[in-house]
Symmetry: C2
Subunit: 457 residues, 2 copies
């Protein structure tokens, strides 16, 4: 064995995948076992995600008792469902027995309702079964649904040596443990005791003399976003969860919260890009299409409205066809500026660097930025259009461009801030919605100014 097991990022390539598929076809278990033994559960899950059901089941069969449940947890939801559908209730229960309670609850709540009870009844560890049964009752998206039951708690009146005895007893079912929670006689959470403090304290010292009363907790009903914000903001690794009476019922670890943070960021990117459902590249082609068509239809409606507006200037286009040349420029610039403005606002809101309750100063700031960039762009386009075409067109394009950029800055700021006030995810505003709106407004402004200038001069 090497002295140092430096972890290298395992990178799955098509070559590795092909060699594994071939080994599965040839039932070359020696090769597979050697390969799998070197990998951690998330890496094995990454491989299984790329396999068909038959191949996935074959690989899963080869895993040892300890690795298998961890691989199961790391699989894509679709793949896990497929795989579990081939298991008996008893087999599923065996997998759940070796998981932490929160992970087990996540898996079981993905199963069809009628199977859930059957699986629960097959779990051997009664405490684990009752923990899972409790956890699946919490609503998705709440602290209750995120927490695990595994924790060590002591009463304030106990001594250090009693506490250590307690840890020894509970050691089996607590994998990750960084601190002991301190309770009063009514089971209410009153503080925390770090393991470090426990180690360096006298065995006969009372917990109430050494514990830290400044502890942060959340209620089971807090949202996962609140939990993520709190743990990130206050740099917490563990967050205890209490019920309405302040009694300790569970704890949330940072790794679950990292997942929430990643998912929220991903979701925002998808909303901003006009994808209406949580999809990834491995999803089925129909699902991908369905998630994307709604905003395309919105874009279509915008395009049709745009065509009606331009249509009302048909006669003018016949006399001045050069008016048509700059339609794409006006549309694109409005879209770009709108997306830039709203992206900054959406991020400011998400990161709490922006006070959401007072819109006016932000609007003026964005309009300032729009004015600077609008003046630069319209000066450039004026020079270009003046050289190539006539001065009326140059004036039309440059005035319209400046107006469009200002409008887009305004809308790109106003729309997400307003949506946020009404508790709608402001990321929705950043994508096709603002782009489409700006397209329509841009064309209207452009032709209005054009008609005015050509008519007057």
């Amino acid at each position: 064995m090497s002295f140092l097991q430096e972890i290298m990022q395992f990178e799955l390539t098509t070559d590795i995948l092909d060699s594994l598929k071939q080994a599965i076809d040839e039932k070359n278990n020696d090769f597979l076992n050697t390969q799998l033994h070197e990998l951690y559960p998330p890496d094995i899950a990454q491989i299984i995600n790329q396999l068909n059901l038959e191949q996935a089941a074959y690989i899963y069969e080869l895993l040892d008792e300890e690795t298998a449940p961890n691989v199961l947890l790391e699989l894509d939801e679709e793949k896990r469902e497929e795989l579990l559908a081939t298991f008996s209730s008893k087999e599923i229960a065996e997998q759940l027995d070796n998981m932490e309670s929160d992970d087990a609850a996540d898996v079981i709540s993905e199963l069809p309702q009628e199977i859930q009870e059957e699986v629960l009844s097959h779990i051997e560890d009664i405490e684990q079964a009752s923990d899972i049964a409790e956890l699946i009752n919490y609503q998705e998206g709440t602290a209750g649904s995120l927490m695990a039951k595994e924790l060590v708690s002591v009463y304030a009146f106990e001594t250090v040596s009693q506490c250590i005895e307690e840890i020894r007893k509970q050691t089996d079912n607590v994998d990750t443990m960084y601190a002991v929670y301190v309770l009063d006689n009514n089971e209410r959470l009153i503080g925390i005791l770090s393991l470090k403090k426990l180690i360096i304290s006298h065995p006969l010292a009372r917990i109430e003399e050494i514990y830290e009363p400044d502890i942060r907790s959340v209620k089971t009903s807090a949202t996962t976003e609140e939990v993520a914000d709190i743990m990130h903001k206050y740099d917490l690794v563990m967050l205890p969860v209490v019920d309405q009476l302040g009694r300790l019922v569970g704890r949330i670890t940072i790794d679950d919260v990292v997942d929430v943070i990643k998912e929220t960021a991903d979701e925002n990117i998808q909303r901003m890009s006009g994808i209406s459902d949580d999809v990834d590249t491995n999803d089925h082609i129909w699902r991908l299409s369905r998630a994307r068509i709604p905003w395309l239809l919105v874009g279509m409606c915008g395009g049709i409205i745009g065509s009606r507006i331009i249509g009302s200037y048909e006669a003018q286009i016949q006399i001045h066809p050069e008016m048509a040349f700059f339609i794409p420029l006006i549309g694109a610039m409005g879209g770009n500026v709108g997306v830039q403005s709203s992206a900054i606002i959406v991020q400011g809101l998400a990161n709490n660097t922006l006070l959401g309750d007072n819109i006016t100063p932000k609007l003026f700031k964005e309009l300032g930025v729009g004015l600077i960039n609008g003046l630069i762009c319209s000066a450039l386009i004026w020079s270009y259009a003046f050289l190539i075409e006539d001065w009326q067109l140059a004036a039309t394009v440059s005035i319209a461009l400046l107006t469009v950029i200002l409008c887009a800055s305004f809308l790109g700021t106003f729309v997400p801030l307003t949506m946020n006030k009404f508790k709608i995810n402001p990321a929705l505003a950043t994508g096709p919605f603002v782009t489409t709106l700006n397209d329509i407004i841009g064309i209207t402004i452009y032709f209005l100014i054009g008609r005015l200038l050509y008519a007057v001069f």
Copy 2:
């Protein structure tokens, strides 16, 4: 004191801010102290970020020795620089003395080079000073720059009670501690010992009998993204950092990595939205303008190219001005589809759900999605245009739309995957770049098909 200190998300409103500003003006320290005492450092930092320098310095003065350095750490970089510029080297050194080594190194490396040495010489704790001096030498963006020096390590040949003695000695400078690292005689990292295991083991047991040899570590030269990926993927709370010889030199905690994950996600959103620098809503108007103008100029160039293409069809527009009506629709739809496709690819790459080395199957899948959505959209637009205009226009628009959607699907997939192969951030492709490219291609296709159909029939 309440039994339960439930943490509520502190939400800064304009009203709270105004009342604090007023209290500063009136030098009402009683009010300010009461208010500040109830808040945690990140909340106080959020307030100071919204104040001018004079007000910020006033509030900072009121903070106690323990709170002040933590508030300093949580400030926006600009605000921290401003504030520190009003401090003497000695005052800065006092702040750094109470920070963890990695935080202190971050702060000091933001200072002008000539001040850094002076500040270091004023730090009272010699070990802290030498730790900081070591850390600031690591290149930004590497594991070395992210790690802290505070950790507890023991030799494998020591006993549990010696180890506990060691913890007792090092307890002052290690705030967060979840495990003890185990070294061989050459200072090389060979394993880990959880505090839980330490607590429940016999005092005379040797470390080598009870430690866990399966430990994951990174070299100081690993990138912060690699560190974040590893800690997130393998659910690690702490990651030890070793030098080229495998000797333990520091450790990285998950809270620093959560920051990296958040920053990376924010940066991707900004790149996708056509913002070329890391800015937020509190930045100065000039900085915001500068970060946004580059991609606007790219969009302008695209618009000008578009105008040349349309210009070459001037005569046709004069005969068929209705051709101009659907220019915005074609442009917008190309843009929308391109952004959707590339967003999914960028996320797949970021989350490792997508194998980056084999492009072909992804291209076909995206083209499949494009075909389905393209057929739906072009059928709808055909019906509309056929009712409103003539059949040639209806055919032109619908055929062009389908072609544009397929092209955009192709480019939206191909461009980010190719950029990723050449190690360029693929998020850059999702924004104005793909949109502009699709605009140009869309117009070209549209007019080509239009000329063909009107000429032939």
